[in-house]
Structures are given as C-alpha cells and as structure tokens.
Symmetry: C2
C-alpha cells in the first residue's frame, strides 16, 4: 500500500486525475505481453514532465516504493510487469514527434510515440525509420529503446540502438541528463547511451529520444517461397547471403505456424509444406529487380516448391501478413502462448530448429516456430494452457533445454525481447561471471536503493549478509513465484 | 622504476626478450600520434596471451605500477601516451586474422591486425569491412575498437562500434571475459560491449575481436568538386543529403589544406579555390552511375567551378589521395601539427568553419581545415612550433574557443579521436554532471585501483579526502604538465 503521505504528495504533484488507484486501473496494468506473469501495482501514475518523473523517483526513495516504467506494455519478457510494492509509471501519453530535421536526418520524439506512427510520418517525407518490431503497430519508441527492439529489418538495417543518437533520461536518483546529440560521430567520454538503451527500465526513464533516420528506399518487392523441408529453407537463406545480398526481411514460418496462419487469415497458403520464407528486398528499383531475380533463382535451386511474388503494394502487404499475424494466429489455438526469442549464428538456424522440434516432441508439447531467419533470431512458441500445471512444467523444462542449446550453438537467450523477469536465470548461465559482476555493479552504482524496476534483468542480491530490507524481501518472494525466473 | 621483484617476475612470465627496458625502447614508446605529450614508460611489454596479460595486471596491483595498452600508437588524443609509473603493454604483434566466416559474415581477429590489411583480406573474398580511419594503413583493429575509430565512410556505413559483434577482454582485475558473439541480435543483460568499445584502454585490454562484415559494394566512383566559397560547398553537402543520397565519402578540404596538398603531392589541384569536396559513391553499378550524375548536377547548381570524375580505379585513388595526404601535407609546413576533431550537426559545418577561421585569425595562427563534411566531423589543424611557447599558448586558447563553439552548436569535442589526455577538460564542459558522475563511477567500479591507463578520459580524483597515494600524486603531477589537459 502507498502511505497516505505518498498518495497525497503524488496527487499534489501530478493532479489526482493522473494518480490512478482504482482496482480496474491497477488490474489493467498488472501484466504486459508476457504470459504467466502478473502483479497488481500500488498505483498507476501519468506524469507530464521530466521534472514530475524526478519528483516521483525522489519520493520513491523516501517512501520505499519501486517504480516500473511502462510504454504500451507489449513487452515479452516481463520488463514492465509490476513488482510487489511498485507503482507503474506511464509515458505512453507523451505522443508528440517534436522535430523532424530533414537536413540532419534526425527526429526528436517523446517516448510514447507509437513506432508505426513515426514510421508513417517520416516516410511521408521520403525518410525511413528502419527498426520494425513485430509490435510496431502498438509499441512505443520509449519501450523500443528500453528493450533495444529488433524486428524484421535487422539483417540489413540493424536494430533500435543503431538509430538512437541521443536520449534525455531521468536517473533513479531523480537527476536528469542528456546523452548524445545530432553529431553522427561522437566518442567523448564513455558510451553511456548504449548501456541505457536496452536496460529495460532498470537504469533510467527516457523522456525524449533523438533518432537517426535514413533515406527511404525507393522500391521494395516482397515474395513468399515454400519448401518441403526446413533444411532446404535454411540452405536458401545461406545461399542468399553467400550471393552477397542482404534482404530487408528474411523470415521463416514452420509447418505448424503456416497452418495456424492459414486457418486464421485465409491467405491461400499450402498447409502441407514444411517451411515458408518471406523475403523482402528494397532499395533502388533497378537493384531491387535484379536481387529479386537472383533470389528467385536461388530458391528454385534449393528446391522451393512454389514462389509467389507480389505484383503491387497491396499484394505485398498480403504476403507480409503471413508473417505479421504468426503470433496472433498461434495464440488462438490454446489459452496460453509462450513466445520465446533465442538467437543462433544464422548458419545454425536449421539445426537449431531441428533441436527445438525434437525437444518439443520429447516433452509432448505443441510448438510453432517462426522468426528472423536472416538474423538467426528464432521465436519458438509453445501453445499451452496455464491451468495445466503439469504441461506448464514440461514447457519450462523444454525452454530450459532450448536456451541451453542456443548457448551451445554460440547464440544468445534473447535476440530482441530482453531478459526481463523471464530469463534472468538463463542470463546467469550465458554470461561470463566477470561480466555478470560488472552488470550487477553497474545497477548498484546507478540505482543503489533498487528503486527502478528492481529484480528485472538481474536477480536481486542482498547488499549485506544480514536479512533483506522489508520491501526487498517482498520482491524476492514475488519473483520466486514467477514462472521461468 | 620497476622494482627488481617486478622485473624478475615479468621476465619469468614473458621471457626477457619480451620485457623491453632499454632507453631506446622506452623512448620510442614515450609518445603516440598526439603532439606535445610524452612520458617515458618504466618498460615495454610484449605479452603473448590473454593469460599473460592477466598476470601482468595482477602484478600491477601488487607492485603499484600502471598499465597503458598500445597498438600502433597512432592515436591523436594521447590515449596510449604513458603516464608516470606505467609500463606500456603492446598487442601490435598479435596480427592473425583467426577466421573469416563467410556464412555468418564475421571475422575473428587478434587486436594487432592492421586495419588496411583486414580490409584487403576480406575484400579479396567479396566482403567489406567499412570503417576506414585516416590511419588505416598503420592503425590496429585493437586500437580502432579502443577509440571507436571513425573515418571516411561514417556517413553511409557508421563507425567501428557498428561492426564489433564480440570482444574477448581482460579486465583491470586480471579476469577475462567474452562479450557478444555471432548472433547479430543480442539483448541479453546490459550492453557492456559498447561501453568497452571506445573506452580508450581504461576499462579493459582486448585480446580477440569479432567483427561484422558486409557484402563488398560492386562498384564505386570518385569525384572532386572545387568551389569558390566554403558556404557553396556546405550547401552542396546539404543538397546531396536532401536528394536522399548517402555517399560512401563526403570530405572537404579548405584553401590552406588544398595548397599544402598540391605542394606536397602535385595532383594538379587549383590552389586559388576556397573549398574542395571529395565525393565517393558505391553500391550496385546502375545506382552508382545514377547517383554520380545527380551529385554532379547538384555540385554545378551550387556553383562548383570544376568537377573531376575518376575514370578508373587508379585515377580514383589519385583523387582520393588529395584527402588522404591532407594531414601529412599540413604537417610539413611547421614543426608541430595540432590536429583536432570537433563535430557539429552536419547542417552547421559551414558556419562552424567560419567560426574556426575567425578564431584562428584572431589569435594570429595558421590553420588548415579538412574533414568529414557528411558527418559534421571537422579536423581544424593548427600549424605551429612547440618551441614557441607564446604561440602554443595562443593555440591552446584558440582550441578552447573552438571546443566551446562546437558545444554551442550542439556538437561534440571529439568525433573519432577520443578524449584521451588532450580533451578531459572539455569533456567536463560538454557532459551533464550526472553523466560525468556515472562515467567516474563506472571507471571506479571496474578499475578501483586505477591500474589501467589512469587519468585518461577522466581526470583522476582522490578517492578519499586525505592525501593522494604516492603513485597517484605522480600521475596528477605529470598530467598537470601536459598541454591541453
């Protein structure tokens, strides 16, 4: 419970209309996009300025509550799920694009700007913001930066951090600072900006973000290729790269996913195939046509049983939707959908998928697999029911094996969703102990009282040998209950 | 002086042939590419493995000497200049390219690999390592990563950090760790890799580096354009960007630099012009020709008085050399060349250059200016004589004004050379106090005893109120003597 003093001060600071404490408001902010994790926050706050965020964080120290920043809450690793004794701090109502600087190819935005809205806005000016997370239609730029979101265009264009030139951030202490600026080259001092990017709301709250834009590609072509075996699809991906082509998207769906997509969206996909590749090339028209022809030939050479090339933008959107609806289509099958995010070197996509399928079979689980084949970034997705405790335990065991396999392949436990609550245990397995020590030290130095999103990314550790302080104990207890923690 | 125990242990560890203590060896490692800064090291070490580096760092704690890592020593901010009581740790003899993985477009290299050698090696396989610092012919990849080196291709391709997928690093404690890997997407835990990149040898010693490669552009065209005014050249740069073209290089030289280059290299450059642009476009042949034509038209529209387009690779290299020899050509004029590295938003290049020229005039100094117009990254270069104390003081005053102007334009004090010793004072002026505090805390956490390259990037601060420990006092005294500190 927030003390009456805290409530009073928050109301005075933000206005009562921006301090939400009703059951409804708390319940709707008790979870994010991650299955199995939820916790009621003490309150939900809607600050209007960086100064108000500073004041909230200062009060959090005094009143010993924690602060969990949240954009759209579309995260998939529990990054914005409240912890016990926390308030949720919203920035999704800060939705202004403050400046698009066409001379410097930059945009200043507020953290609550929806990714797809920014994309549309800059594309209308002949510019391009490449990062394209699956949740772009609802995710916020602030959330994208907090998670270092990836998406479909990673292979050719990179991820969110490659497009963040500057951030205005409020630290857990309540101090504010600006990092970076419009200079595209800047090596003054240590690169703090790139640590805050992807820090999952544990090191600071972003209040303004300066993004880098690029010229919009003039043309783009989209195709689907169907294969009778995943290894044919995997070899096709390798052959495209070997031909020195970097497509703007190079995505795959496995049979289960294709079937669910077809049932859901009626795109006329052949449901007997083992693998589907969605390939998109963009750039100057002449090059795009050339690449398209090369890729078609490569697909045929690797036993594609059918290829569909979109003739216009409408058809391209239709083909693209085969990939875009994958998650929603899978989510219809069973009450609970556990979507994961392992990454392996792209040359190991096919063998890794084989391992995932074998693991799912061994545990008697239904898995759909899809993801970014060009990035080696796979989304093995378990279709289950959280009321079936035994199956959930088998799913946990399966994912544990999958993470171990990814590590064995020299990959990582998360390519774009973050560590959050869901993968802290595996972070410890993946990471060399000195690096883990440095991560802990970094959090400790920036947020010594653990006020900001505590227990995310890293497990909490007592700072001394004695008993944990009261609120830390509660957090640990909560975390012990969470799945996959 | 190293204690005899330390010397004995180092000799036993590395072999006497790898512990260089002669006057000649110490003198040749007393400076790097930065003018006015030099300090004799206690010894120069040539370790052969990460384990030996660990042992050296452990011994440094016991014996209270500092360790200054060094590649080719081509740095321009004093990053590898020894500090008093330090040994120099060389890695420039680790010159193996360990693996080029054509399926994943990656290369594992040792830190001593020469940048140009790596470029040539991967280009022979149809791949491309884009970062191209001016010193590429002599600089090492380890040094490039330590400084987050930039270069000519920043506008289109980014800088070194955009191509580092993984690093194996020995921490000041002597612990070793691996960060990153072949997964092109990886958001597990905090992004420590990008803090170590550009940390100028103050947070760790790199022992292996995993680089990202891209397909080699099929074609490339190079041109020079001459202008009667710098503002015409500046407008040309803006117009090229506004036409949604990102050239692979977009460089400028001012009149003084053009004259020095012509005198030095006899390229047939008109010496009465006010500005020269070197423009390079690369990519697929059809696009390259299209872009070249567009850029030519833009140059003419902005009053270019002459344009030279290279007809073949030989001629391109000749035109490119106008920019490549700029520093050497300027350095012949006077005994001391102070090359700086301010960056402003690219839309402010022309006004910033006007300010630099006015400042140089006001202080009665001879300046040549050149740099990366497309990045807003300028290299104002003062031609002076370090024996003329009065002129050196005027140069210091002029650079102070120039840094202040860069900050006023929303730019930065260093785009690619690093903070090192030379720009610590200006880092403090540029950086918000909480960020500076975080940088200090980071160094403190990773290197609490200040063993690794102390006093670089950040000024040393006593860790307690009492008198400084002996060796720290010496370092502070040395630093107080350095120019521009």
């Amino acid at each position: 419970m927030l003390s009456s003093r805290a409530l009073q001060q928050l109301s005075a600071l933000l206005g009562t209309e921006n301090v939400l404490t009703s059951e409804e408001d708390r319940i709707t902010h008790a979870y994010d996009g991650t299955p199995l994790l939820h916790q009621l926050p003490l309150a939900v706050l809607r600050p209007r300025s960086a100064e108000q965020i500073s004041a909230i964080l200062r009060l959090a120290h005094e009143e010993r509550f924690s602060v969990v920043p949240r954009g759209s809450g579309s995260g998939l690793s529990g990054g914005s799920v409240p912890v016990e004794g926390s308030i949720v701090l919203l920035t999704n109502h800060w939705t202004r694009i403050l400046e698009v600087d066409e001379r410097n190819l930059t945009a200043w935005v507020e953290p609550g700007v929806i990714t797809a809205k920014l994309q549309a806005e800059v594309e209308a000016r002949g510019l391009f913001y490449p990062p394209d997370p699956g949740s772009a239609a609802i995710s916020t730029i602030g959330g994208n930066v907090a998670e270092n979101a990836g998406g479909l265009r990673g292979l050719k264009y990179g991820v969110t951090k490659n497009y963040v030139l500057g951030i205005e951030v409020v630290l857990p202490s309540g101090e504010a600072m600006l990092l970076g600026g419009k200079s595209v080259k800047d090596v003054a001092g240590y690169n703090l900006k790139d640590v805050l990017i992807g820090s999952e709301g544990t090191l600071g709250v972003f209040t303004k973000i300066l993004l880098k834009l690029v010229p919009k590609p003039e043309a783009s072509r989209t195709m689907l290729a169907f294969f009778n075996s995943m290894s044919d699809a995997g070899e096709t991906v390798s052959a495209i790269i070997a031909a020195r082509i970097l497509p703007a998207a190079l995505e795959f769906l496995d049979q289960t996913t294709v079937r669910c997509v077809e049932e859901f969206a009626h795109l006329g996909l052949p449901t007997s195939i083992d693998a589907l590749l969605l390939i998109e090339v963009d750039g100057r028209p002449a090059v795009v046509e050339e690449d398209l022809a090369t890729i078609e030939a490569i697909c045929r050479r690797h036993r594609a049983i059918e290829i569909r090339v979109a003739r216009d933008a409408g058809e391209a959107a239709r083909l693209r939707s085969a990939r875009k609806v994958a998650f929603s289509a899978l989510a219809r099958i069973k009450p609970t959908t556990i979507l994961e995010d392992v990454t392996v070197p792209r040359s190991d996509v096919a063998p890794m998928l084989e391992r995932i399928q074998a693991i799912a079979r061994a545990h008697g689980l239904l898995f759909g697999n899809f993801g970014h084949a060009g990035d080696g970034n796979l989304h093995p997705t378990c279709l289950t029911d959280e009321r079936d405790k035994a199956e959930i335990h088998r799913a946990e065991a399966a994912f544990e094996e999958i993470f171990n396999e990814a590590i064995r392949f020299g990959g990582t436990i998360t390519g774009e969703h973050g560590t959050g609550l869901a993968k802290r245990k595996f972070l410890e397995r993946l990471t060399d102990p000195p690096a883990l020590g440095m991560m802990r030290a970094l959090k400790q130095v920036i947020d010594p009282d653990g006020v900001l999103n505590p227990g995310k990314v890293l497990t909490l550790k007592p700072r001394c040998e004695g008993p944990l302080p009261r609120d830390r104990q509660q957090v640990e207890r909560f975390l012990a209950l969470g799945a996959f923690t």
